[in-house]
């Protein structure tokens, strides 16, 4: 026998999964929402997505190549996902220069400074988004009215989102019944015909992505269900206690970034807990903080902040929330 044999410890077989394939699955799951976004916002959606993806991948490449001088890992697909998610959290009329700044914050500040993929405590796309929201509040909150390819890009006609219509209206003492007439119908909201960040509007498309992620076992149901479930419960209580001042649970789920956040942002592997029990707590935390910000806070929308706040608790949860081990009940000795 001439050929040498490989010797290594077991297991000697491996699942077909890889980091790259998981990231690719997330990208595929985002495709329906992207198509919906192009359908509603036209060229702007394409420009924003391409700019964001290209600049995220490029920043990661440049940092690894020039600053860290480490082996390149841009083909793992994580920068691509960050780029897409960042774009989905932006209005479709945001200028290219601002996107590039946001991408830099996402990749350079939120991801690479902590050691790159797997080491960042906060969701990079959301850090970028929140940085942009605080630094460019005007551009970040002027929402194009969905008109398909007629929407244009930076010259788009803008209007308020359903969330801000309700928030402002209630603050000004208007009745909810009247305000509901000013916002799109639930069916329109479900399909995404409303103002908002380009990737968050189409609930139907996001749910399609959710089903795909579940089937491919990329994520489990725990976090999305906990986020949406806690929002439904919390807003039901508010709505039932005072239906004149509080919007319905359905409105809260369909409006704004709840579904995008619950399905794609909160489930980011690196920044979410490892154990199902902790995932539920984390998801409920996001839901509760979101409602607190929306109903009692200054901003009309709070999903991004809620996720970032709960991201901060993840290391704590990973340390203290443990699964019930097999054979645990009976203590030895």
């Amino acid at each position: 026998m001439s050929n040498l044999l490989n010797v290594s410890p077991s297991p000697h077989t491996h699942a077909k999964d890889s980091t790259q394939k998981l990231m690719l699955d997330v990208v595929l799951a985002l495709v329906p929402a992207f198509i919906a976004s192009v359908f509603y916002f036209g060229m702007g959606a394409i420009i924003v997505t391409v700019t964001s993806v290209v600049s995220c991948v490029l920043f990661e490449y440049l940092i690894q190549k020039l600053v860290l001088k480490k082996p390149l890992s841009i083909n793992d697909g994580s920068a691509l996902v960050t780029g897409m998610l960042l774009a989905f959290n932006l209005p479709s009329n945001i200028p290219v220069s601002i996107i590039i700044i946001g991408s830099f914050v996402s990749i350079a500040v939120a991801k690479m400074t902590f050691g790159g993929l797997g080491s960042n405590p906060f969701n990079p796309a959301l850090v970028g988004r929140v940085f942009m929201l605080i630094s460019f509040p005007v551009q970040m909150t002027s929402w194009p009215v969905p008109m398909g390819f007629a929407t244009g890009y930076t010259d788009a006609v803008t209007g308020a989102t359903p969330l801000s219509i309700i928030k402002e209206g209630i603050k000004n003492g208007e009745s909810l019944t009247k305000l509901l007439g000013d916002i799109p119908s639930p069916a329109q909201m479900f399909l995404g015909e409303m103002g908002g960040s380009m990737g968050e509007v189409a609930a139907a498309a996001l749910l399609l992505g959710f089903v795909y992620l579940l089937i491919r076992k990329v994520i489990t149901w725990h976090i999305p269900v906990a986020v949406v479930g806690s929002i439904v419960i919390f807003t039901s209580v508010l709505w039932m206690s005072n239906p004149e001042e509080n919007a319905t649970p359905m409105f809260h789920v369909l409006a704004g970034g709840v579904l995008l956040g619950a399905i794609f942002m909160a489930t980011d592997y690196v920044t979410s807990p490892m154990v199902p029990k902790a995932m539920i707590i984390y998801g409920c935390g996001i839901g509760i903080i979101t409602v607190l910000i929306r109903v009692f806070g200054a901003y009309p929308e709070g999903v991004s902040f809620a996720i970032l706040i709960m991201n901060a608790f993840v290391p704590l949860m990973n340390t203290y929330i443990k699964p019930k081990r097999f054979g645990e009940e009976v203590k030895n000795g």
Binding site: M1, N3, L5, N6, V7, S8, P9, S10, P11, H12, T13, H14, A15, D17, S18, T19, K21, L22, S73, D76, S78, G116, L117, G118, S119, T220, Y269, V270, S272, P273, M274, V275, P276, N318, K322, P323, K324, R325, F326, G327, E328, E329, V330, K331, N332
Partner: protein, 444 residues
């Protein structure tokens, strides 16, 4: 819905290439090398000398102590050497080499083909016979069977569980045994029930072996107290704690034996060996081994004498394919890679798998993306990613608190990790370190 264990588990491609290939007898080789330790516990001590003539079935190394097992010659011939070899697990150990002359068995063995169902031995005699015949668990763990049959006073066993799960991919030796030696197997189970003084036995078989399930279900009506239960296909269901949970929903406490919940688990191969030992007076010196691999021309299931070099098995299976990159003793999930093909077949060797070169190297290791797939794959609800990090950083006290010693090394975590991280390698390191630390602590 089919029964299975609740937490964790993975489903690797089954690749049961030899499921439909009947068991054949491998010709007796020209020489055998029989290790004196083919079991968990103290190695046996050679009782023959160089130059002695032995017969098949003759005791050549005697067990020492309680947790140990006798070793018998598998061939007739002359002892040529007693020295140290590297066995199929990669460790050095004393072995008795025998040059084969003819095939003479000791006279006490009943070599007839008759199936004997009537059990004449008392429970104590059965346990003694298992001890004398060197019966060990043939599922791979090779725990001496007489120890499992000796229920300590104060403990009570109410059910015998027979492991016909064979959850490892590729392996089919138990499957074929259930199909081709059903009556003997069920008699063996009845013998074990008698020895344990239990009224009930359950045979757990995964649903990917419908022929074995229906065959045994048909036969079982002729036996008292035995039921055959189909199980959902999920690895590591053949682990005894998982099998007990799946079948009777009892959870063996961490660090304890199945007897704690009133169960004793034996493998189907062991039950067959018990049949042969008790009814035919035949010590354990041959077993069914699957030799398989995608590039082999003639993979199959063979009855092989212990001590036969696996080279002979590979020759019988059509010779070593040119693309062979790795040879595994056992299943792909828990088996051990061997570094040469002269390692002998031992009691615990259920299969030999030849992997082509392209399937024999590991993935490139990438950073942990904290996807939690290892956590959901762990059948013991441990957190493999954490145990790996703790072991890597030398934080062994913390690893102990996180119950690293519960790990049964099934490999589901490493199997499932998308980043190709060597989780189990580090967990093994941590586990052995923690066990050593605990031992030193107990000495103080």
């Amino acid at each position: 819905m089919l029964k299975t264990f609740p937490a964790g588990g993975v489903h690797p491609p089954e690749n049961k290439l030899t499921a439909n290939i009947p068991i054949e007898y491998l010709p007796v080789p020209e020489s055998v090398t029989i290790p004196v330790s083919q079991h968990i516990g103290a190695p046996a001590v050679p009782v023959v000398n160089k130059g002695d003539t032995v017969k098949a079935g003759q005791l050549i190394a005697a067990g020492k102590g309680f947790v140990t097992a006798n070793i018998h010659s598998s061939v007739s011939g002359k002892v040529s050497r007693i020295d140290t070899i590297i066995d199929g697990t990669g460790f050095k150990q004393t072995s008795i080499a025998i040059d084969v002359e003819g095939d003479e068995w000791i006279e006490t063995i009943d070599r007839s083909k008759d199936i004997l169902k009537e059990i004449k031995l008392t429970p104590e005699e059965i346990t003694k016979r298992c001890l004398e015949s060197g019966i060990v668990g043939l599922g791979g763990a090779t725990f001496p069977s007489h120890v499992k049959l000796s229920v300590p006073t104060g403990k009570k066993c109410d059910i015998l569980i027979i492991n016909g799960v064979e959850c490892e991919p590729y392996l089919t030796s138990d499957h074929r045994l259930m199909l081709e030696r059903g009556e003997e197997l069920l008699t063996g189970i009845t013998i074990l029930m008698k020895a344990l003084k239990v009224e009930k036995a359950m045979v757990g078989i995964e649903n990917n072996k419908p022929d074995a399930l229906s065959h045994l279900t048909k036969l079982v009506s002729g036996f008292k107290g035995i039921s055959v239960i189909p199980l959902k296909v999920k690895y590591p269901q053949g682990a005894e704690k998982q099998l007990i949970k799946a079948l009777i929903n009892r959870e063996v406490p961490s660090g304890r034996l199945p007897l704690e919940v009133g169960a004793v688990v034996h493998n189907v191969g062991t039950a067959f060996a018990v049949y042969e030992a008790v009814q035919k007076n035949k010590p354990l010196f041959e077993r069914v081994v699957t030799v398989t691999g995608k590039s082999l021309t003639k993979p199959g299931n063979y009855v092989v004498r212990t001590g036969t070099p696996i080279r002979k098995l590979i020759e019988a299976a059509g010779g070593m394919p040119g693309d062979t990159g790795k040879i595994v003793n056992g299943g792909p999930m828990m088996g051990k890679a061997v570094n040469n093909i002269d390692v002998p077949v031992v009691k615990g060797m259920s299969g030999v798998i030849l992997f082509p070169e392209k399937e024999s190297s590991r993935q490139v290791v990438q950073p942990c993306i904290r996807c939690a797939k290892c956590v959901s794959a762990c059948a013991l609800n441990l957190e493999p990613y954490l145990l790996m990090t703790l072991s890597e950083k030398g934080m062994f006290e913390r690893a102990e608190a996180e119950r690293i010693t519960d790990c049964m090394e099934c490999g589901s975590c490493s199997y499932t990790c998308p980043a190709g991280r060597p989780l189990l390698d580090y967990i093994r390191l941590g586990k052995s370190t923690v066990i050593r630390m605990a031992r030193e602590r107990n000495l103080k």
